[in-house]
Amino acid sequence: MAKQLPILFLSVLFFTVSVNAQDLVKGKKIYETRCLACHQADGGGVPNMNAPLDGSSNVVGNNIARLVKIIKGGYSEKIALDGYYYNNVMTANPDLKEEDIANVLSYVRTSWSNKASKVTVAQVQAAQRKK
């Protein structure tokens, strides 16, 4: 048993890593089909038009509920985001499942220069309960 422990530990570790990797791969796929058109491949957005996700204080911030709401319901509040305004209207994604939302948010929070925590399905669920 003692001998098998490291192997068990390793496989658990491997499993965890691969699950996480999977999240980001799926998240990237969703990003490419649903977000890239506006927020661009570099996450830099389009000045005055589509907000940047790379370097955005909200995107890497702690208000996950707000991010979930934006992805699900779309966004066009025209309030200053890090000091700038954007003229386009963000598409709603009412059909995205909780897992998809967790994946795409995890992707945008850890890509480019963003180094925030990933978002779990439990966090997405909690956010939706909050409304």
């Binding site: 491949a41 570099d42 830099g44 000045p47 779309g74 003229n87 209207v89």
Partner: protein
């Protein structure tokens, strides 16, 4: 002191290199043309206008750091660089137009009229006349651009607050509304008196409809008619991936120029113009499949250009400074695309179309390039990193061409040296 010498030399070399790199303000121009950086970092400069004495006015999309949104620029020592710069007003917007001593400027809702004195200084910075008020400005295509005809009528673009008039804007699977209710109050050009105060929708008329969003427009004095540049629709691939792949979306639909007369309809949202089939194609939101034609009564474009390049400025050149081929032709400032992603972006240049007697007379070509700040031949893939984005155009009294840029906030002055 002695060991300062190398540093001094180094600084001189760097300065020289810098100046060299900045020849023609970094622009690439046809033989014989030169450019100066007339102004830099003045704020998000949208449209510009020049008075008969050569004073330049720029309208900013947002008030600049000093809180001003109309900027006056004067080049007193005539070296091609503005040396007296000040401003007023605190509302963002795009439109500006000067006629004699009348200076028109727009917010996203209203058209204002300011008075200039003999020195082309504004007389009433805080009390302009309100010419038109209460125009629709929702979250999209809200900016109002303007031009005047020879009879003091002002033409205002009222952009559609939508991409394709879907029941739910920019949402996959959402159908196009029939008829599109947006067209009652937007998605067209409205005509008002340029002298009457406090006009609202009912005082003007819808001059032309079926135009998704126009930013560049100009009155052509040869044909005595209005010309506009439409921004074509976005995201065919996002919403109809089975009909359009990324490469097709990057090239569809064309950006289009129209000559407009009263009552004209350019077909948005029901059709778009396909530059390959050279036809008006039914929009997929209205049952189109990429091939079915539509818009029998809609205009065909006067000229069409590659997709998504965002034509933000249009100017018919009436000056005598440039070579003969440019006389009465159209300059178009392309702001540059974003909806070609994941393919490389296009635009970010000023194009030229020769005209004769108010009709296009030859192919369009790139006139001024290099605004993006990238190396020759390098394509824009990171829109955020682009240095300058051409937006407004204006002609100086000496026939020079001014180009504004709302990214870095510069104004370029382009002249021809015989």
């Amino acid at each position: 002191m002695k060991n300062l010498k190398p540093i001094f030399l180094f600084v001189v070399v760097i300065l020289a290199l810098n100046l060299n790199a900045q020849s023609n303000a970094g622009l690439k121009l046809p033989e014989g043309f030169k450019a100066t950086l007339f102004a830099d970092t003045i704020g998000s400069a949208r449209h510009i206008a020049v008075t008969k004495s050569g004073v330049v006015f720029a309208k900013l999309m947002y008030p600049n750091k000093a809180g001003k949104s109309i900027i006056r620029l004067e080049d007193a020592n005539k070296d091609g660089i503005a040396d007296k710069i000040n401003g007023w007003a605190n509302y963002g917007g795009t439109g500006i137009f000067v006629k004699g001593k009348d200076l028109y400027a727009t917010s996203d809702n209203d058209v204002y009229l300011y008075q200039l004195n003999d020195n082309d200084e504004v007389v009433n910075p805080s009390s302009p006349k309100t010419i038109v008020k209460g125009l629709i400005a929702k979250n999209q295509h809200a900016s109002k651009s303007i031009t005047l005809d020879g009879d003091n009528n002002v033409y205002v673009n009222i952009g559609a607050y939508s991409n394709a008039c879907q029941e739910k804007d920019r949402t996959a699977g959402s159908k196009g509304m029939m008829p599109c209710p947006i067209l009652d109050s937007a998605g067209g050009i409205w005509k008002f008196s340029g002298t009457k105060e406090n006009q609202v929708y009912g005082d003007g008329k819808r001059y032309a409809t079926g135009l998704r969003n126009v930013v560049g427009l100009d009155w052509n004095t040869q044909s005595n008619s209005l010309f506009v540049m439409q921004h074509g629709r976005d995201q065919l691939n996002s919403f109809y991936p089975t009909l359009y792949n990324d490469a097709q979306n990057a090239e569809l639909p064309a950006e289009t120029m129209y000559e407009l007369h009263e009552g004209d309809n350019a077909g948005w949202p029901y059709v778009y113009f396909d530059p390959y089939q050279k036809k008006k194609i039914l929009a997929p939101e209205y049952g189109g499949d990429g091939k079915k034609e539509g818009g029998e009564n809609a205009l065909n474009p006067t000229v069409f250009f590659p997709a998504h390049m965002a034509p933000n400025g249009l100017l018919f050149y009436t000056g005598d400074q440039f070579p003969a081929k440019y006389k009465n032709g159209a300059f178009i400032a392309f702001h540059g695309s974003w909806n070609r992603a994941p393919l490389p972006q296009e635009g970010y240049f000023v194009a030229f179309v020769p005209f004769k007697n108010g009709k296009p007379n030859g192919e369009w070509e790139i006139f001024a390039n290099g605004f993006s700040g990238l190396a020759d031949g390098e394509k824009v893939t990171n829109v955020r990193k682009v240095k300058s984005r051409p937006c407004g155009l204006a002609q100086g009294p000496d026939g020079s061409l001014y180009v504004s840029d709302d990214a870095r906030g510069s104004i370029f002055k382009i002249s021809y040296a015989k």
